[in-house]
């Protein structure tokens, strides 16, 4: 009798331990994607263009092909456009492939810009592809991409 009771107790403890362990693993699985994973690059492009087709050309994304320090990477985006009231660049966005988040920077311009030329310094978590997309006033989208090799990564180093 006693032996059976003890056995049952032991069983219960084991089950409880197992269940709580399972719950802990479950929580980890839920938290991790929320922390580290965003949408993939094609979805991010689609989100920016609202599903409109993207043509190659007119945009020039300038970035060093080999980057030593991913913490500050200079980039320049130039878009060929007359920048007149009738034909100008509305927005320029830069997206990445493998950082924790796809968006890098989105600039809003207009005919008052004179020239669609922007530069910034960004972070790159690892070697990856970068895409620059320009939205024109006529509703068309143009893009350029660049592959970058990064030797020292930024932003996701774990302790």
């Amino acid at each position: 009798m006693n032996v059976t009771e003890m056995h049952v107790n032991e069983m219960n403890v084991t089950r409880r331990t197992l269940l709580s362990a399972g719950a802990a693993i479950g929580t980890l699985l839920v938290i991790r994607p929320a922390l580290a994973e965003d949408v993939d690059l094609p979805s991010a492009i689609k989100a920016f263009t609202n599903g409109a087709p993207v043509q190659r050309g007119r945009v020039k994304l300038d970035i060093a092909p080999l980057v030593e320090n991913g913490n500050t990477v200079p980039i320049t985006v130039h878009v060929t456009s007359p920048m007149s009231a009738a034909d100008h660049v509305l927005a320029i966005t830069v997206l990445n492939e493998k950082n924790p988040q796809r968006d890098v920077i989105t600039c809003h311009l207009g005919p008052r810009a004179g020239r669609a030329d922007i530069s910034a310094r960004i972070r790159l978590a690892t070697s990856q592809k970068l895409v620059a997309i320009a939205q024109m006033s006529d509703g068309s989208f143009w893009s350029d991409s660049a592959d970058v090799i990064v030797t020292l990564a930024a932003c996701i180093e774990t302790p």
């Binding site: 988040q101 968006d103 600039c107 809003h108 311009l109 008052r112 020239r115 922007i118 910034a120």
Partner: protein, 106 residues
Amino acid sequence: MARALITMPKTAKRGEIVEIRTLIAHPMETGYRAGDDGQIVPRNLIRRFSCRYEGELVFSADLFPAVAANPYLTFCTLATTSGTLQFTWDGDCGFSQTENVVLTVT
């Protein structure tokens, strides 16, 4: 007040394209990085930058964690009239800073 640097010509001819370079001291903490104690350092970003030329918005940018610390940004604007260019950075933890630069157009 964070230290901000704005480099642009003081004078320009009407219709000339003026290049503006801006730099502001800010950690741009991503919220993905662990500190020395192993805890995630809370996100602290500049989210938005804007440039107004005599009150009219001529350029703005949305900044994400992938923008490097001490955000550096260059862009161009068309010199139309003499006036003030107002640069504003807005971000997390109530961060907001405004700088004014006068441009004389001849």
